[in-house]
Symmetry: C2
Subunit: 216 residues, 2 copies
DNA sequence: TAGATTGTTAATCGATTAACAATC
DNA sequence: TAGATTGTTAATCGATTAACAATC
């Protein structure tokens, strides 16, 4: 086994994760005044150190005016372009349980690079429904539809037991990006990237941060 | 050199965030065979380097048998104890929209240190409903109930515009731990800890990881 | 014993922080 | 100009990785 990934890590991943937060602040300023914001001000509003914000902005390729700051609209554009969020990608969602339905209902994902074109579920009772305007289909229909629409992105919101088999189905359907809420590691072929999302990690961090704070 | 077990030391937060993942794997093994697991095996199942797993386990205070490994049940207990998850804390949830409802519906949080005792919403239409068995109350009732039940933990799942005022209400209710899904920084008094959860951060990371992979 | 694994140390790597010259 | 801010470099800090002696 290789000791580390052979890809050169160009960007700070913690930095990448902070970008959507800045984007939120900037988007709320859009169309308003002022039209320009400095890294100092953005850092204050985001609750981050100035150096961090400057480094993060630098990563996107945005350029500011010395002594002035960044044009808000231009900075929004540079961050969106860097994240590939200028045009949303068509996406599948598998598993319309509590979490899956909530994700479908959050129309705001279009602002974050995702547009749900179809949902899938193993439960025949759920098939045929439209959840928040997205039709729920049987899993067997996925490969044909995925190939036809060239869907590259998919969200995995099924129980742990079904996660691997649905991931296999994603791959068969031509998906190369999987955003997974399943609490297990997925085996996928080279070239397919899995981003695992774990809400319980945040809860763990919260508890330990509280204890550390108590001890001081 | 310094004593390790009871010293006030900052724990590796990335490590803390990995613990729930190990816990999942271990819990699925519980009551089965084998009753012992080595860091090597756990690392394989978690898709992590062995050194990482050993360091993370060390952090919890768990002790293994040289040449053998860790007792599964004991390791589960040590991780749960370290995370404060042996007994779930009573928690409030504010905002029963798509996401809030989904969180209430996921009964599994009891396994992760949280038990929802009441939900709150600004919408009078929603008040009085029981969502997944949890009663929805008007926001004004929160302080009295929070003080009476000594609720220390709360989940914030309201829109950005209401987030700060509801956070203020949490504080007034005696809450010291806020798990926030609002995409803004919250101003809270000293002693109150906010853990911000940002799903869009994962999406940003996914996109950039894909581009980095393409470039190799 | 012989093989396996822990617990720990030292080296490496990456991210954050601080500082400042350039310049609008 | 004088004040503010960028862009960047160098220093610090923390996490990850690799290695190995101790030992079951």
């Amino acid at each position: 086994m290789a000791s580390k990934s052979n890809s050169v890590r160009i960007n700070s991943l913690p930095g990448v994760r902070r970008l959507p937060f800045y984007l939120n602040i900037l988007r709320r300023m859009r169309n308003g005044e002022p039209k320009v914001i400095s890294a100092v001000t953005l850092a204050e509003e985001a609750g981050q150190a100035v150096s961090v914000v400057k480094k993060d902005i630098e990563m996107t390729g945005a350029v500011g005016k010395t002594g002035v700051g960044y044009d808000v609209a231009a900075l929004i554009g540079d961050i969106e372009r860097f994240l590939g969020w200028t045009d949303p990608y068509d996406a599948f969602l598998a598993g319309v349980g509590n979490l899956g339905s909530a994700l479908l209902g959050y129309g705001g994902f279009k602002q974050y690079g995702l547009r749900f074109v179809a949902a899938f579920d193993a439960d025949p009772e759920k098939v045929g429904e439209a959840i928040h305007g997205v039709e729920v289909m049987p899993l067997v229909k996925m490969p044909e539809l995925g190939r036809r629409l060239r869907v590259s992105t998919a969200v995995l919101a099924v129980p742990a037991e079904e996660a691997q088999s649905v991931a296999d189905l994603f791959v068969e359907s031509g998906v190369t990006r999987i955003w997974s809420f399943a609490p297990i590691p997925l085996a996928v072929p080279e070239g397919v990237i899995v981003q695992r999302e774990d809400l319980t990690a945040g809860l763990a961090e919260l508890m330990v941060r509280c204890r550390n704070a108590d001890q001081t």
